[in-house]
Subunit: 361 residues, 2 copies
Amino acid sequence: MIEEQKTTLAQLRVSIEAELADFLGERSAYLESISSDLAPVAHSLSSFLLDGGKRLRPLFAYSAFVGAGGVSDKKIIRAISSLELLQACALIHDDLMDGSDTRRGKPSIHRHFETLHQKEEMEGFAQRYGMAAAVLLGDLALVLSDQMLNSAGLDSAQMHSVLPVHDEMRVELMAGQFLDIHEQTQKNTSVDRSLKIARYKSGKYTIERPLHIGSSLAVTNLNSRKKLDDAYSAYGLPLGEAFQLRDDLLGVFGDPAVTGKPAGDDLREGKRTVLVAMTLDNSSPSAIVRFMNSFGSNDLSAADVEILREIITESGARTRVEELIDSRTSSALEALRHGGITPTGQALLTELAALSTRRSM
Amino acid sequence: MIEEQKTTLAQLRVSIEAELADFLGERSAYLESISSDLAPVAHSLSSFLLDGGKRLRPLFAYSAFVGAGGVSDKKIIRAISSLELLQACALIHDDLMDGSDTRRGKPSIHRHFETLHQKEEMEGFAQRYGMAAAVLLGDLALVLSDQMLNSAGLDSAQMHSVLPVHDEMRVELMAGQFLDIHEQTQKNTSVDRSLKIARYKSGKYTIERPLHIGSSLAVTNLNSRKKLDDAYSAYGLPLGEAFQLRDDLLGVFGDPAVTGKPAGDDLREGKRTVLVAMTLDNSSPSAIVRFMNSFGSNDLSAADVEILREIITESGARTRVEELIDSRTSSALEALRHGGITPTGQALLTELAALSTRRSM
């Protein structure tokens, strides 16, 4: 049974990637027909989209669609694949805002265009060109995600049903992103504030709303899917928090070979997460001083990273975050038994819960 | 007759602003209900949208709707008003990419948040916070524009008709924006390349596509509006170029009291426009050396600006651009007589042609 589900998710990923490749191939040809100067834009966006990614958001949407009794076809796969383009916008702009050099082991978009500027000895400032290119590639990915969804061939009832959820999700995403960058400017950390950010950035955007998108495509009447959507929220919100908490742990303790980011990257960025807020809430004054001394320094050595990791572990924050992940994931799985989710949907969502919170992600 | 049309455009502007105020009021309340930390986001986006602007894109869309025989109602006004939110995204991101300090005489969004960071003595770097806020406010404006359009209450036929045009317009906008920032990195200027950028940024995005959006809302069958859309293209593309060329002239010769930007701002930015390309194509080698010596310098004095203006005028580029504006505008007005545009539509579009290319804009 487990094996069969794995094949299904893997097959789905292949279908999602085929739709993305098809859509991006056609759009790239169009962009290059406007001007050959747009070739680097088309290429870098395509390789950003096609060279990796777990496809979590489309997979959640698909599973919720099946869980709502939907029978999938090419149109559905195409519609849900558009979520990957929205996510590309979020990641490209996120890397720019965080000043991250890499994404999945390759240069981030702003760094890529900065390097292009230097290599081709262009006029003006390389850094500004990289920034502008990342702003525009993110914007382009966002409008392309809409275009892919709107042109997927959904019928009028499905469009009327899915668009309000899709729009709300994107407003929540931008709100969560702003709260996140704003949090980095605060004098004090707060577990509550960081949990709210996790709720908007991941609970809602990554999981709950993709599930609602899936159910809205299967059951176009809002009242008819109310019970189902409630169950999806009860599964999605805690699982999304667990997903974000795992991401926070990986940003500090993750293996670069797996994360595609340098070791301890979040420590270098000084990223205020639930993990960091818990560390500061539960450390001695001298440990806090030592922590804040190097937390957020651009030039952290491997030894500095190790010291910060030790303070986090010794404060008990690492264990508490692991416990939170476990309890949130258990709540999520418990919710799957309610709301009338089909057995196939339950099986897929059980597997996705494991996939989105596992240690080696 | 002229007076009556003026009243109509002014009344329309009031209706557009009322729809924007209503939508943004509700959305601001929602954002602040998520967190009071989102209040500065809601406030600055609302004041950006409501404190000015000519509302050109909604006015073009409305005029084309009426020109196609449509009878307007609240839903139509709401749908076309969403174009102002898209334009807000374009301007916020544009100011960030250009490093512009002001917009309509007030600080640009990135500068506003940079100052907020300094005033409230937040942690981290003010410049980075300003940049991130501008990226996210632009993104938010973009998704809100979609939400406003999608929730305007259009019927299924109108949605099916308008979404493909709307999506294509946004891809063209991002393509034009990229070509524009890329142009600034080239070793040589080119009148042809700059005209292509004007075509995408203004011909298509500012005028042709808003017109097609208007006609798609009035006549939902693509074949039935083919002749009309062709007439709108024949009007919109040359008029859009004329609009961009006027903008280029204002960026160099405009009165700060009218433009809301410092005198000669485009010269300080080193913006490569059709005007600049024509200047360099028609100046003596020594004039070119003098021009390039201060063009694009951040610390241009009033005297430097005057010298650059003289070189532009002496090259004949200023006169040639004025001539181009006249001939493009004439072509546009000539096209209004074809395609079966209603007399009311023709009158509105004639007035808009004057409004969008006039010297004192």
